[in-house]
Symmetry: C2
Subunit: 380 residues, 2 copies
Amino acid sequence: MTIDYPSTGLQLRSLVTTEGILEISLQDVPVVEPQPTQVVVRVEASPINPSDLGLLFAGADMASASVSGTAESALLTAPIDANVLRGLSARLGASLPVGNEGAGVVIAAGASEAAQALLGKTVAVTGGSTYSQYRTLDVALVMALPDGTSPRAGASAFVNPLTALGMVATMRHEGHTAIVHTAAASNLGQMLVKLCGEEQVPLVNIVRRPEQVETLRQLGAQYVCDSSSPSFMSDLIDAVSATSASIGFDATGGGNLTSQILTAMEAAAAKNATEYSRYGSTSHKQVYIYGGLDRGPTVLTRNFGFAWGVGGWLLTAFLQSVGPDEVSALRQRVALGLETTFASTYTKEVSLAEALQPEAFSVYGRQASGEKYLITPHMT
Amino acid sequence: MTIDYPSTGLQLRSLVTTEGILEISLQDVPVVEPQPTQVVVRVEASPINPSDLGLLFAGADMASASVSGTAESALLTAPIDANVLRGLSARLGASLPVGNEGAGVVIAAGASEAAQALLGKTVAVTGGSTYSQYRTLDVALVMALPDGTSPRAGASAFVNPLTALGMVATMRHEGHTAIVHTAAASNLGQMLVKLCGEEQVPLVNIVRRPEQVETLRQLGAQYVCDSSSPSFMSDLIDAVSATSASIGFDATGGGNLTSQILTAMEAAAAKNATEYSRYGSTSHKQVYIYGGLDRGPTVLTRNFGFAWGVGGWLLTAFLQSVGPDEVSALRQRVALGLETTFASTYTKEVSLAEALQPEAFSVYGRQASGEKYLITPHMT
């Protein structure tokens, strides 16, 4: 059985020219015939995650972006600063598909049993190029959704849920017992509140606006610190002391938030110290930077001794480190919790063409918590 | 056998008052009777290491220091900034002895066999309070020096040699094959050049002045980059590419040197990349900050992907991590190389009283490479 499908479909592409211009456009591309272990998915929904924006916007100055052409054949262009352009040499002139994940229906399958078993099923997919109407990909990149789950509900089944699970797993693997999380009102942050509640892992949530405190409290969050409050540092020290959190995950990256978290951890450790140590406490304090909401430099005021680490954290590297069996178990857990623990909410749904319009990218490009967009490639 | 020794001896003390004044003075303190596993060492030589200065100066403004009293009963005072004082609450009002290491002769010993075996021997000691004429301490903190080694030659047998060995061990343990080192013209840096030469570990040396390049080349250093040169970044990228160094040890701490090392490692990794990765290279890049020559903030310009780490590195934590047998083997290796691989040189020898005078502390307090002082507590 193969459902009829067209020979071509729309796909969003991002290109950086050698002159330093970002060009985002829709291309009509062939739907690739499936190999034996592949399936063809009609993509119904794909989220715009912060982790998609680097590839999509290439660090261009989106405030200076302009859109030409008709709605169906729009061309978005934006200038790229020379400093940013220097880091993009490997992608110059290449028209790149975008989109880390999505969900849809399998409309054709290769000859293998694994592929055939997915035919007609609603599935979540990962592996890139999901801002497309059709996506041909290996069954390893496909997860069948429980019966009755819609593509919209399954669109964000990989990036955020596996990141939340990865944070808890990293915490355990490195011997910590509680977590500090920033940008905690995000979809990911809300998942982490629910997940840590289930796992009984104490969680210190850092949000950027007072109204976000209430959002998280309603989900059951016990510790919420608002970085815009004048009492932020003492609130943070109190929460870190109460939870003994010694690992943090920072989506911000730039500025001094990572440093403040380490300072709070050191202050909490010093409260329990019995004697003065000129080198600071001996308990290891770790913050991982997993995003770049603030693209400025990370500024570390080293008043937290020598037992500390800061580093990058990347979902793909985490998944590789735990191996395929564990990844498979984590995926299974996500599939069962897609409408509860791992549920996502979206501000707005846009077609592929609408995603290129200023009223859309000026909002989702801001990466503000609670302004998440969903692309629905077959809506017009 | 016990050699006659006086009942008291001079000891240097550092005190921070609640009013925020640093007071450094000499006290006449009792020589402690040895317990069965202890020995009494007449300290003949003790280096002023950068790692001693935190405890000694307590971050005071030494440019505003003044000295009163006679040379033999001098009192050095200096103001401490309120921000710095806040981090010193655990030591307020406590008169603390200083000095991480030194060497001398065992003049009395407790009843145990291990202690008695050291009587009359020239030994190196660690464990603090070495800016003293006499030091009573456990045999575990004492290392007998090879026959004929003078206390001056053995004065720096712990901190720098074990740090150099610790860097190479950390490199191997974490799976790297070459090292980047900053402040490389220091006594420690010169040891590391010799050690890495023996161990065939490629080493990229970063120095701060052109004349230091020649100093290191004469020791056999192959890669020396001068951070004051306009071509520093391209020199560093070339050296990191040639050596495939992916771990660095930074004595500076503040400023952007740690960030520049990570940037160079990423640029070297990108040269070998076959395709564009939006998240940077997948090879892990690590820099450890083991000193604070620049006490300003560490500024990380995150243009090096997500596979990176920055952290504190402390000798005592390293020694604990490898365990007593390995520490014992490392010490043995140091003892045999004290006049070759692990030889130290000093700009000047000063008595305890002279160490408190402006013409001394204004020089050793600068922590400039090649201006290392040795305290000789029995010289007057």
